[in-house]
Symmetry: C2
Subunit: 537 residues, 2 copies
Amino acid sequence: MRFLSAAHGFARVAALGTCLAIVGPAAKLAWSQGHASPDQASPDQANPGRFLADFNKRVTTKVLPNGLTLILCERPEAPVFSYFTIVDAGDANDPGGQSGIAHMFEHLAFKGTKDIGTTDYAAEKIALDKVEDAYAAYDTEYRKRVGRDEAKLKQLHDAFLDAQKDAEQYVIPNEFTEIADANGASGLNAETSLDATQYFWSMPANRLQLWAYMESDRIANPVPREFYKERDVVMEERRMRVDSNPIGRMVEQFLAAAYVAHPYHRPNVGWESELSQITATEAAAFHKIYYVPANITIAVVGDVKPGDMAMFEKYFGTIPAGPKPEEMTTVEPPQTAEKSVVIKEPTQPLYLEGYHRPDYRDPDDAVYDAIQDIFSNGRTSRLYRSLVRDQQIAAQAEGFSGFPGDKYPGLFAFFAVPDQGHTPQEMRAAIHKEIDKLKAADVSDEELAMFKTRARADLLRGLGDNEGLAQQLAIYQLRYGDWRELFNQLQKIDSVTKADIRRVANKVFVDTNRTYAMVEFEAPKPSAQQQSQAGAQ
Amino acid sequence: MRFLSAAHGFARVAALGTCLAIVGPAAKLAWSQGHASPDQASPDQANPGRFLADFNKRVTTKVLPNGLTLILCERPEAPVFSYFTIVDAGDANDPGGQSGIAHMFEHLAFKGTKDIGTTDYAAEKIALDKVEDAYAAYDTEYRKRVGRDEAKLKQLHDAFLDAQKDAEQYVIPNEFTEIADANGASGLNAETSLDATQYFWSMPANRLQLWAYMESDRIANPVPREFYKERDVVMEERRMRVDSNPIGRMVEQFLAAAYVAHPYHRPNVGWESELSQITATEAAAFHKIYYVPANITIAVVGDVKPGDMAMFEKYFGTIPAGPKPEEMTTVEPPQTAEKSVVIKEPTQPLYLEGYHRPDYRDPDDAVYDAIQDIFSNGRTSRLYRSLVRDQQIAAQAEGFSGFPGDKYPGLFAFFAVPDQGHTPQEMRAAIHKEIDKLKAADVSDEELAMFKTRARADLLRGLGDNEGLAQQLAIYQLRYGDWRELFNQLQKIDSVTKADIRRVANKVFVDTNRTYAMVEFEAPKPSAQQQSQAGAQ
């Protein structure tokens, strides 16, 4: 049910590589404002049946002959529209040895096309091909296991840098975003998770055709402009978010331990050695497989009319068709033994544990949401009350479902930050006590009722603005083949029972299904190398 | 230095998927006999210098225009020859989502070619293509995430079975091996590790041309005959060696935890979900990349003459050239925290721990061999004396280097089986005590001398028979670009010092570089599901 891990506080911090490629300083603000203050006509929360009937009238769906799915929703209250494009491929689809490649597309999203962002595409194309050739020559020498020639390597690297420089002369920096901005776009953005890649912005209604041109051109004709520069940006992002960040390091090790076969095992920003050697040629191969119309769903919401569909077809219909990518074969085998990673560092202690759960299609999906709500939603939630308020051992404590994704079976995870003087072991014991309570006794009527009220309200509130609605329509259409499933969620929330919660808790929260990672405080000590030198003397 | 994990007792048991695809009941016997009793002219162990000079006269090496490396070594003492083919690709090269695919080639090794093993290849080809089409149709439906049609799935599966049956009518079972056998071949075999795939057998000298024809044809023109049948055989092998075997299960979890990015993380037999969905089409793609002449080294040893090279060229020179496969980009990041897997089962307790070490090219490679020898070689070794003989807490205890491979950085691992009434925790403590001793004090003169004597003897003894020599020549040629490096090993062994051993032990055997797995005995208890049902009542 929760598609974007960003919907959750901790997950937002921890979702490695889910960086927002902010374009322009105002963009992020606009996006968060859009979500925080839906000031357009709100749906009738009291009557979802009427609400759905209303949507049925407003929404037009069409699968184009090339396989691309378009959803159009009329909301003429203001002369604006928002769109949301989902490419059904994220870093879980990264080919072996190329982790982080899906995420590169987020960084290349608005670099332009054959027509936008270049002074002379024909010449630039030749120059970019030369960059690839130069890089390949360098890379082959670099990877040699025996007999690498360092002088030659240096020469080849210089040649690569020269080729890059040559290609840069054709670049018109930021032309794509400047065109968008000049035409009133706001919230221009892209996001990558392990599950999918998303692109979105909002615009005045009279720029609908311009948008259709820009978005379809961007999808069909991306140019790997400044690819290696952008790869360096992502490397730096990795250093900041993972390598130099205690939570980032812990989460990376935690997921690597929790998953053995499934790609949720990998950080979506990529392993350093792989990310640092991704090429534009590999990215083009990824694009060819995954950026095909049959793998793309686009929702447009706002001051649009069913008659606009013909214009959309004109632009999006020309994207060349390709076979729908194969579904992933890999299934994580059942976990049968507790696993752990114990990090000892002179830093803030932390505790994180997770249990494998099924994917979003599971009939109990809403039950996991209920458990998350009861454990973590606000100051009345069980973990906050117990660990933070009453025992005063934790600065923060929460449980969250569907991490690091939920397209495939994710984890139900618990995260706690010990207060000064307390340990990760105490967090573990206190969390297990709360889990045992949930397994042993029914939740209260109030807790169940509060979950349902909040979940319904959250769901409906998210539809109040064009951005949120476009996102949800696209997601549900993609995930269930019908956006109307969105409204069945209300039914699913309503039908969760106390017995469901106990049953699921007893099924999932078992020792052999657990992986944990902890950071234990340890005073700085001599490095292994220093020890070794001492030992050798 | 140890290329085949099979060289070591435990590793042999634990090297998942390194199964011997035995062809004919006498084959395995012949192979092990060949290694156990070298009864041909033995090299002069006292004088390796003269030995090398002698080899320089006997060995001819040639890289064919298509990139294939051939090594020919004259040993005319008996009218026989042995050969060893290495394809420089193992299961570490399996593409993402296709773990186990390199190993499939071991199983398909002797199924025949376009000319051998078929009654009518033209018709069989058409039938095999239909098998692939039928399987692809079935597989697409099988993988559907939403809206899978079970009736259609059954129908497609039946169609696939029919297509398979149709293709089988052209198969002449075992024709390839029967031709080999009828011409006096012995030890026909194949092996796959994470690092490489190897093929070898021995034959009378007057069958040299027949061998060249069969081996070159087998490499160039493999036919995916009975592919899906063989996939089932491998699935069964996985069940036997991993899923139904406590050591196999533990080792799989151990490696998955010890490695996060590098493919040593994966079992070479493959993850069940991936192995069970590998296709012959994917195998053909793997073959096209990795079974190119530039990636293959063949050594032939025995009653052969330099003049035979021309005949070899005639056969092996016609294999179409292809680009040398790219070297792997992935490098395992440094481990910074202890990791563990704790399995609780009603079974024999076990303990396994490992520390990351560099690959075979490391200047300290022979030092790791020395440490292995001192810990584990026979009844005078430290672990045996301490854990088995003196403390009487273990039935078995050893340390071994380069697991699960050594082409890439492998592990130095320790394995112990507690005696009745003793625990894996005791094994851990006793092993750590021995490690601490090695870090704190120099080994004795006797220990160091015994290592050197044994290592030299092992190395030279391995060259005493044609099979062993062919293997070593091929391996060293592949790994260092020159088979003569084999003889530098003697120098490397000789130069290991006591200080080297302490230095390396202090560098590698540190807490943060350790992963451990243990099986703790636990009486059988109700399953999670039974608990859950109880909890829900």
